[in-house]
Assembly symmetry: C2
Homo-oligomer: 355 residues x 2
Amino acid sequence: MATMKDIAEAAGISIGTVDRIIHNRGRYSEETAELVRKAMKELNYTPNIHARGLKQTKKHIFSVVLPKREQDGGYWRLVEEGILKAANELASFGNDIRIFPFDRYSSASCINALYMALSSDTEGMLIAACRPDDMRAPLEDTDLPYIFIDTNIPDLKQRTAYIGQDSRQSGILAGKLMSLLISGRASAGQDQYVLVVDPPGSNFHLYNRIEGFRYYMDAVMPEIRLITLKAEVDNESHFHSRLKEFHIKNQALPIGIFAANSSVYYIASFLEKEGDEYRSVPLVGYDIIPGRESAIEKGTIDFILTQQPEVQGYRGIIMLYDHIVLRKEVSKEVIMPLNIITRENIHTFTGYMNG
Amino acid sequence: MATMKDIAEAAGISIGTVDRIIHNRGRYSEETAELVRKAMKELNYTPNIHARGLKQTKKHIFSVVLPKREQDGGYWRLVEEGILKAANELASFGNDIRIFPFDRYSSASCINALYMALSSDTEGMLIAACRPDDMRAPLEDTDLPYIFIDTNIPDLKQRTAYIGQDSRQSGILAGKLMSLLISGRASAGQDQYVLVVDPPGSNFHLYNRIEGFRYYMDAVMPEIRLITLKAEVDNESHFHSRLKEFHIKNQALPIGIFAANSSVYYIASFLEKEGDEYRSVPLVGYDIIPGRESAIEKGTIDFILTQQPEVQGYRGIIMLYDHIVLRKEVSKEVIMPLNIITRENIHTFTGYMNG
């Protein structure tokens, strides 16, 4: 644990001067400040928020390109909350974060938001690459640094970092939980199936989750068929009618249902409406959505995997700031803890923000 | 989101003055600082680390009473790491955190550490109440505020807060995971049992975890017997010989093993030594211990529940500081997220510190 005294000794100056420089008050020369920064780095002086205010004279502007907050069942609102929390902290040093929202199901809206962000007076961007095909070309053209959040495009050259989840691994984990849930129900010789709900939109995330889930299930329970149901519209009643249609066609209930995103709540409300036999079908999906926790508390949803969207938003902005303003080394890839939520631990997650 | 401008308007002073006060530079009067603090409180201005340095002139000393870092398989080392991280951040404002370690299995050592802490020049304490019977009397006598960490004594009057886990609920969650793990193995009419390993020492924590586990198992799988094995010494080879003895007496292997703390790693090494049939017995326990993750990665341990000891230590100190120095309202009870760790998500937790 380096102290100010250690830094003063290493830099060969007085503690008073180190204190002035670290707290950015009184007079000091840029040369001395450079010595202090060097000593801080060498001694691995705890980088706390003070460092973020160190001798910052210029106002910095960052842009965020993100789906509209109400999309994906309110998921993006949570990401935005974390972003606003970081923006608020950085605002006291005169930084400005501008959000450019887009409709995640519209190519035109996505391209427009990205161009607006790129042509604004910005030094760097935080981008949710939910529409990689639309985003690739404009991002190949820019010299601005950017960090991907939630969804990654790994091969772009200006990409500074990615913060998100290991989505294939989360699908594998979902497969493991599903296999445990149905292991008491699977009976030899019977034609049983698990329903895999493929939500609207397409991105690496959804693809990888489903791929990981299939991989695990095929390896561990090869006798169980996996039937995919594709939904076209991000809307609760659309999901309900798709499920109803499917059930009329396939008389037998699935022995388990996996939803590759927060549309799991639409499936839960369908199962609850249809009665006890439906409600008891094991259900695994993604994300805690405020206001919809009751589906987990009642046990309609058996397991939820979550990638802590607020923390992702918060850390994404801090990484951008550290990279651009403080020129600190940032990790190329930050993988969020993959939390398993169920009836018995959800109360310890809601109301506790890991910021 | 309140900004400095909002605070300036609410306090009826210039932004420059607010800035000087918040960043504690230049001159200002205590009266004006009081106005700013009041406005910050009313506007719910984001409390970040700046607030912690606000006009602090006195040096503050806090004491920590904690088991020795090597006990409980290295668990307390993690708590201490979080405490040191917070101590390091607060050190730049001239605060001092002193740790008084005790032997968790010795009454004399515990009482001595607590008296040393109480009679030191301290303003408040962070205490792991692992030996409630020894700690109660001295704590009833003191006027110092204290926060319990990890283990609680709810009825003490000077108690400011508790940070820890809902231990009975974690036992219930362990029961749920166990019931899923063995649901494919439980066969009607057979005399099957789950082994419950009761670690040495006694505290509310261990008691509640085991009680919660029993409660869930009795409700959901009443046909499965629960057999308790009490271990007397916190030592790997002691556990191995206790398990060996037990197995000689009870020929049949258990269909599952639950360990109420990090001694689950001692059980894992026993199962690995004894061969494949043993290794495949479902095993559920507590805590990620650095250097021993391989038991989870190999799947010998099926599920680990963790209470994030580093984050507890870090937040415990910050709460103490907020309460005593900043006189901020702190929550009476902070329950940590109860994380479920398994082979498929452990890599997202190690190396990611939620501080």
